[in-house]
């Protein structure tokens, strides 16, 4: 241990400087947003390990430039509500006038929202709807519609009978629950002849693969799969189907119809190849755009009323604020090359 303290000190210094330099990079991109009116906007990203959220994070600085929003250095709460609370406090003490967040735990954020309200700092919540606490605007696609669209597509393709598997997200997430409930509900009312197997995959590819493989062994006549998240479920599903020799073109009678959610580029590729049939494109670009749009409006003191908007969506009234329900288009072979889809704009 002769070299102990020195080495440890040097190592720590290196780590801190390394972190500092990445911080500077972020500052540089943030600073590119130019001068703007209304005050600084603090933004927290919910996690760094999902394809969808990474696309969202990339759109934010770009949209901030277009909308001339004065964006602070983004923080990342790594799917942890405690970190989100700490980050929010840090952003406020650095002078944020508006906060944009995506609380993955919609209950535990309530007291933070209360504190922000007391300080008169408006909050835009992206993708999730906080259970309690004032929000200026929730920017979110209608997750129930995802489940319903997937159900209608599968039901029609299967002719109203047969067996389908639903690879569900985590049940602790409102989006996973909304999709699962809407899908089940729609199958029950519109296609009572279809049996649904629910697989609680916790958004984990490994579990999804095991569960789908086991279910196919038990019921070789399964004809449809609904995946809650293409980012985690796509590769395992394709791999399992391939191993079973079921990865065939849609006109083959052995074809298993697969509907996904997310709208990432890999899903579009799979649709083009005929490996999967449809996906619901969750609009990462619109999330970023309208989160910042409303953040700017909040800083300027604009107020909104429930009703249709100028961008094909509807603002609805919530007990604790408003929600702009953005459109989430169903993508099939017919419209997969549409350049307006965000999945076709990223590389």
């Amino acid at each position: 241990m002769r070299f102990g303290p020195v080495v440890a000190g040097a190592a720590l210094l290196t780590i801190i400087t390394a972190c500092g330099s990445t911080g500077d990079d972020a500052a540089a991109t943030g600073g590119g947003s130019g001068t703007a009116s209304g005050g600084k906007v603090g933004i927290d990203f919910p996690r760094a390990d999902s394809d969808f959220w990474n696309s969202y994070s990339k759109y934010v600085p770009q949209m901030a430039g277009e909308l001339k929003v004065e964006l602070m250095n983004p923080t990342n709460s790594q799917n942890d509500v405690a970190k989100l609370v700490a980050n929010t406090q840090a952003l406020v003490s650095q002078g944020a006038k508006v906060i944009v967040m995506a609380p993955q735990d919609t209950g535990a954020i309530a007291s933070t929202l209360q504190q922000l309200e007391n300080k008169k700092i408006p909050v835009v919540s992206v993708d999730t709807r906080p259970d309690k606490g004032k929000v200026y605007m929730v920017v979110r696609a209608d997750n129930k519609a995802y489940g319903t669209k997937a159900c209608e597509f599968l039901g029609e393709k299967l002719g109203g009978k047969g067996k389908v598997v639903q690879l569900m997200g985590a049940l602790s997430s409102i989006n996973g629950r909304d999709r699962a409930e809407a899908f089940r509900e729609c199958m029950k009312t519109k296609f009572p002849g279809i049996t649904v197997f629910d697989e609680p995959t916790e958004w984990e590819g490994s579990k999804a693969a095991s569960m789908l493989q086991t279910r196919l062994e038990q019921n070789p006549d399964i004809k449809g799969v609904y995946m809650h998240a293409g980012g985690v479920h796509l590769a395992p599903t394709l791999q399992v189907l391939k191993a079973k020799g079921l990865l065939v073109q849609p006109d083959d009678p052995k074809h298993v119809f697969v509907v996904s959610n997310d709208g990432i580029p890999q899903e579009f590729d799979a649709i083009r190849k005929g490996e999967i049939d449809a996906t619901v494109s969750q609009p990462a670009d619109l999330y970023a755009k309208y989160a910042l749009f409303y953040a700017k409006a909040a800083a300027e003191g604009t107020t909104f009323q429930p009703g249709p908007t100028d961008h094909d969506s509807t603002i609805i009234s919530l007990p604790n604020g408003l929600e702009d329900q953005l459109p989430a288009p169903l993508v099939t072979k017919d419209n997969v090359d549409d350049q307006n889809l965000w999945g076709n704009q990223v590389k």
Binding site: M1, G4, R47, A48, D49, S50, D51, W53, N54, M168, L171, F197, D198, E199, P200, E204, G205, S206, A209, S210, M211, Q213, T214, R215, E217, Q218, G231, V232, L234, A235, P236, L238, Q239, K242, A243, Q266
Partner: protein
């Protein structure tokens, strides 16, 4: 270095339970089966499974279970050896995702046709992480628990940072092959896990280096006094452990057809559950590789039965945890010895 044989070390080898030699006969027999106390649990699970669904006992389904568990099994093998030697490695779960991810990032850049390098490279990355852990624990004399906890975060952080948090799709065939291939009608991953477990069982029971693990885990000072090169053996175990975790990553990648940003995350709980219900002591020096294997099988069968039965997602965790507790109790009663 020394002429001392492992059997002369203070810590008794596993195959003979501490009381075995004194109480001859029955005692010895019990000792022989100590690592197999989960066998009754497996039998119960097979019977229950057969009643739950007729598909359960088919060759196809059981093969699926083995294939699904093969990657986890390799990490359990690594952790069992490290635990037996009286150490800890939490960072294995991060290696499962990070090693193949880095390999995939490096290989297309450097290799045109030399995709054969993919798997050796991946194993090398895993071994390097193990070597670094060993360096910090043995040379820096830091606590294995804390070091590997930090390394678990560092390694996963490296994975996220270098991949930008994206899932990796459309990987080179060289890294996909092992996880998806079939040899003689059985998935390659099952063969690999079987061979490595056989090597582990034989190595830890009959080879000097393997038996040294028990001596070190039982009492490192006594082991050192008996002439075992403790640091060297431990370091080797960490390196092998890292490489096994990397291989597990290769198998998992091939099975799933992609590397998600959180591949391997959360595995360590399953790994410890499997090792401990399989009779490996958290304090070192006790347990066997075969026991750990039965632990993996129990976990895989429980998972499979729950899926076949279609237990609702909200209740699955509860049922799962409950079954593991019952398995522990059955193995305690069957084994007749207090759990460490």
């Amino acid at each position: 270095m020394s002429t001392a044989t492992p059997s002369a070390t203070p810590s008794p080898p596993p195959s003979a339970a501490p009381a075995g030699r004194l109480r001859a006969g029955a005692g010895l027999r019990l000792g022989r089966f100590r690592d197999l106390t989960l066998v009754p649990v497996i039998v119960v699970l097979l019977v229950v499974g057969a009643f739950v669904d007729p598909v359960f006992l088919t060759v196809g389904n059981l093969t699926n279970v083995l294939q699904q568990q093969s990657a986890l099994a390799l990490v359990v093998l690594a952790e069992a050896m490290i635990l037996i030697a009286g150490k800890f490695d939490l960072s294995l779960e991060s290696t499962v995702g990070m090693a193949p991810a880095i390999t995939v990032l490096v290989i297309p850049a450097t290799a045109g046709g030399s995709g054969l390098l993919a798997i050796p490279l991946c194993l090398l990355i895993g071994a390097a992480i193990g070597a670094f852990n060993g360096f910090l624990i043995l040379k820096f004399q830091l606590s294995a628990f804390v070091v590997t906890l930090a390394m678990m975060i560092v390694v996963h952080g490296l994975h996220l940072g270098l991949t930008g948090g994206k899932s990796l799709f459309e990987l080179p065939e060289s890294i996909m092959y092992l996880g998806g291939a079939t040899w003689l009608g059985v998935p390659a991953s099952i063969w690999i896990a079987a061979v490595l477990f056989a090597a582990g069982i034989v190595g830890l029971r009959y080879f000097r280096a393997g038996r040294a693990l028990y001596a070190i885990g039982g009492n490192p000072d006594a082991a050192r006094a008996a002439g075992i090169r403790v640091d060297r053996v431990l370091w080797t175990v960490f390196v092998i452990g890292g490489a096994l975790a990397a291989l597990a990553g290769v198998l998992e990648t091939g099975r799933l057809g992609g590397i998600s940003a959180n591949q391997g995350v959360g595995w360590i709980f399953m790994v410890f559950a499997a090792s401990v219900i399989g009779g490996v002591s958290m304090d070192g020096g006790k347990g066997t590789v075969l026991g750990a294997l039965t632990g993996v099988l129990v976990i895989g069968l429980v998972e499979n039965v729950l899926t076949l039965k279609g237990v609702p997602g909200e209740w699955k965790q509860l049922v799962y945890g409950g079954i593991i507790l019952v398995a522990l109790m059955i193995s305690r009663v069957a084994g007749g010895k207090a759990q460490d």
